[in-house]
Amino acid sequence: MNEILCFNEVSYRYDAGGEHDALHPFSVRLNKGEKIAVLGHNGAGKSTFFLLANGVLRPQTGEIRLFGEPVGGKEKQRQKLRQRVGLVFQDPDVQLLAGTVEEEISFGPMNLGLPREEVQSRVQHAMESLDLLSYRTRGPQYLSGGEKRRVAIAGVLAMEPNVMLLDEPSSNLDPAGQALLNQILERLHEKGITLLIATHDVDFAWQWADRVLVFREGRLEKDAAPAEVFADEALIKRCGLESPMLWKVARALHVPAPRSPEGFAAYKVEGR
């Protein structure tokens, strides 16, 4: 496995926050091309985990390694971490800055100090990947929620990260927006980008992810394949999660849960 990012006994505690928001020491490795769902109730530590992985927050103990090299406190190293590990915030309005979509997407690459032609080609590429070409000169503040989110993802994609962290990307999306998002995630996966998605949607996690991280009260409770996580009913209950709909149906039918609804078709139906 190609390891990209490694957390080694990393912990974090907010100055003002109580136990609630803190992250207790945990270790995790992220490899190339993985599709990871990050589950856990609100305040379980998902967002803090993302901010640490992206280098906005500094771990209080432990060490983060990027491509095997430790990321220290130096600004330059943290900039490198931010470049390699992109973070898409839950609320796109927090992220959007510029007067046009094109300028907005160029913000990250420009900060990397790349030559103009390189920035242009990256922006172009990111807009193509997210079907944003016709929005080039539109003002981000006049876009809909789903469009804003695509611009926010494009802005991070243009920095060409190896890992992308998406904080609840499907919140506030209509079904069409959700379908488009799924397509986009597939495209990002095909580019070989490691994807981490914080979500409350267990159905999505079951169908999409090939690995699940479960956080509970600032602790990493479980890091395993989806089938193992959802089979552990005690864990599901303890962490305030729910079984995916496909699991509930499969359990009622006394069959193993398939990855997609179509999977049920493969089962032999016994006649009356």
Partner: protein, 302 residues
Amino acid sequence: MITALLAAVLTGSLLAGHLPGYGVLVLSLFVAVGFRLMGHHHHDGVLSIDGLAHHSRLYQENAFLKTGGSVALLLCCLCSPSPWPPVCLFFFLAAATVLLGGIRLKDYVSLMGVPVVFLFLSVLTLLWDFAGSAPKDAILSVPLFGGFLIVEPASQVLAVQVLARALGAVGCLFFLSLSTPLPDILLVLRRIKVPVVVIDVALLMYRYIFLLLRTARERKQAAASRFGYGSWRKSLRTTGLVYAGLLAHSFRRVSACFDAMESRCYTGSVTFLTETRPITKKLIALIGVPLGGMLICLVLLW
């Protein structure tokens, strides 16, 4: 209604002495009715200007020329010794904004409402003077508190001059702001070496004012849906709560926004990839014709 009243009083005071009394009265009434009919519907002020600019057909034109041209025209306007060139310029630019830019006439007239009220008020104060005794050459004099409110011919000339220049200037500014969104104008300022800090701050304010206003509106609606504005006392209290909440919300928001900037490798200056749009013949003509006309007028009149 206020605009219509102001317009009537203004017309009356400006024309008094130049037309017979009934003529002045009829014309004033006519102007008042005209302004009343034009009406002016509700809009979000500055922000609707920005939205309209984004949809203008002149939006894609070179921002540098638009800004430079508008400023040059504005200066010509202010230097004009006669009221006619600025008035002509106003109509030319208004026509350009509406016909070429594709801004609806209704929107243009409605936006004019704001500066026009200010303009009429200030011109009225220029026109009317207070004196202890009415001078012989006063055209209008109204006794008041032992003195007289008077209109003199000299102040009429001055008022017409100011009115014309201000109208022309508003035309220039509307031409610019209804075809050029603020970020484009800021880009021009960046080119002419205005300090980066000023531009960055302006840019971020521009961006976040949309969020702030939207949040404020949502909070007000939420309060209204719970009868927060039921009585005068209640609405006073609710308004306080809404704005206090808004302040706290803004502080939380600022740190989230800063995190988001940092996460994209922000190191202290906000830079974007910007494209300089080509200068078209249409725009050169659009700026060149009135500018040439204004300059010729200035040379002939001075």
